[in-house]
Assembly symmetry: C2
């Protein structure tokens, strides 16, 4: 099983994802928010790239009597006129239970939507559900591409860390013991970037929160007073939920992320 890794939304080439399992990470905060919402009973999440489209999808859902929450951020801030933001802490079971979340974010929505165009199965990953995602990827048995959203076209430490946690869990599931030896894991074919991500995971596994102090975007959110969000997003393997994208086949259909 080959495990590849992409560092930014911009580096996604949908055709190269054909037949593969793709896992998308935007740890601060889009995919942590999606995982939290789904774990708290959200019926599904629709991710859209621009704000006008988000409003249109939410209005359409309302017209179909589907309870929907319109949510999003730009540059870490709420969008004017949008009732909900991109903090996972907003999405308690009381707020999100039984509803569809329509979410537009700076990097995560772009990464998710580009990935959906190419991959066979698209899974939403974060530190919150890294082990469950690794179990799902192992069960599917196909080659895997870990897709980090990055931040404005640049590498982000926290996304690659979460991808590395999935690599680490997969290595421990499929090649227990190989991490102590000098040998490359034999049944897993790790691209060089997957090896680098694995070492990030080993470095931060005992304190993932520390990686946010070392990350540019983590420090930005800290300076905006979002410490509680950072603490939440750093919590490793809190949930066993694996959100998976389901493509709704109907006129004007949109992909919706649901509980696996």
């Amino acid at each position: 099983m080959h495990i590849d890794l992409l560092l930014t939304a911009e580096s996604i080439v949908p055709a190269e994802l054909a037949g593969r399992t793709a896992v998308v990470f935007d740890v601060l905060r889009a995919t942590s928010t999606i995982v939290t919402a789904i774990a708290h009973g959200c019926r599904g999440v629709v991710t859209v790239v621009d704000t006008a489209e988000a409003q249109e999808v939410a209005a359409r859902l309302a017209g179909e009597n589907t309870p929907a929450l319109l949510a999003g951020e730009r540059g870490g801030e709420k969008i004017p006129g949008f009732p909900h933001g991109n903090s996972p802490l907003e999405y308690t079971p009381e707020v999100v239970g039984g509803k569809v979340l329509v979410l537009t974010t700076s990097n995560g929505s772009r990464a998710l939507n580009a990935t959906i165009e190419g991959a066979r199965t698209v899974v939403v990953g974060s530190l919150l559900n890294a082990r469950a995602v690794a179990q799902k990827a192992c069960r599917l048995g196909r080659d895997v591409t870990l897709v980090c959203a990055g931040t404005q076209g640049k590498f982000s430490l926290e996304d690659t860390l979460a991808a590395g946690m999935v690599v680490l869990e997969m290595v421990e599931m499929m090649n227990p013991g190989c991490l102590c030896s000098n040998h490359h894991p034999s049944s897993l074919d790790l691209a060089d970037l997957s090896v680098a991500a694995l070492h990030l995971a080993l470095a931060y596994r005992d304190n993932p929160r520390r990686a946010f102090d070392h990350s540019h975007h983590g420090r930005k959110l800290f300076s905006m007073g979002l410490t509680a969000d950072l603490d939440w997003c750093a919590s490793l393997n809190t949930f066993e939920v694996v959100p998976v994208v389901k493509v709704v086949k109907k006129e004007n259909g949109y992909p919706i992320i649901e509980k696996c």
Copy 2:
């Protein structure tokens, strides 16, 4: 001091290097070869991107009565008609002493030549001289961009490891003790990629050779029987030499790498 990192030759934007110290890494094998040749008394190295230009430069040097060696590789193999290849082991003091090396390689030449277009000072880095390069970068005191050549447009583990060794040495020189604490090094502003490279260095510092077993290009060279080259290139801080690019100012001038 800001320390940034580029993962491939393709991601170099010369204008973004303005005023900075750039260090170029193509560990397997171009920059390890250049460092070895300079350490062994080579007068200077000219890197060119295409083979015809390499032949032209070598002929011009011969016409000027400058003893020159024509060398290069494509896909790890010697170039037909070129008397020398890209193995650092070829460049003993007897072979290279007092001569100019004209070198064309798959990735390293492209990375070096694109970097030369933009940066204020261009230094050649490898595992062989990581500490000396870090000392030089600290002395210059300017912002630093670590430029990994990568392999055919892709991330390469060994180049980023060597860049990480330079980050690690700089952190230990400028912020001794900070690696044991939870704090981000204060006088160094590390981009997220530099932090990730630092963790690679910490993971492999006791056995850099092991990284080549985990790297795609390292395994390719191993399968070609180049074990002695791999062992040589993995040797950490063997040399104190810091090759620096000097731009020759004359008609049809070409940049030449010399001992600092």
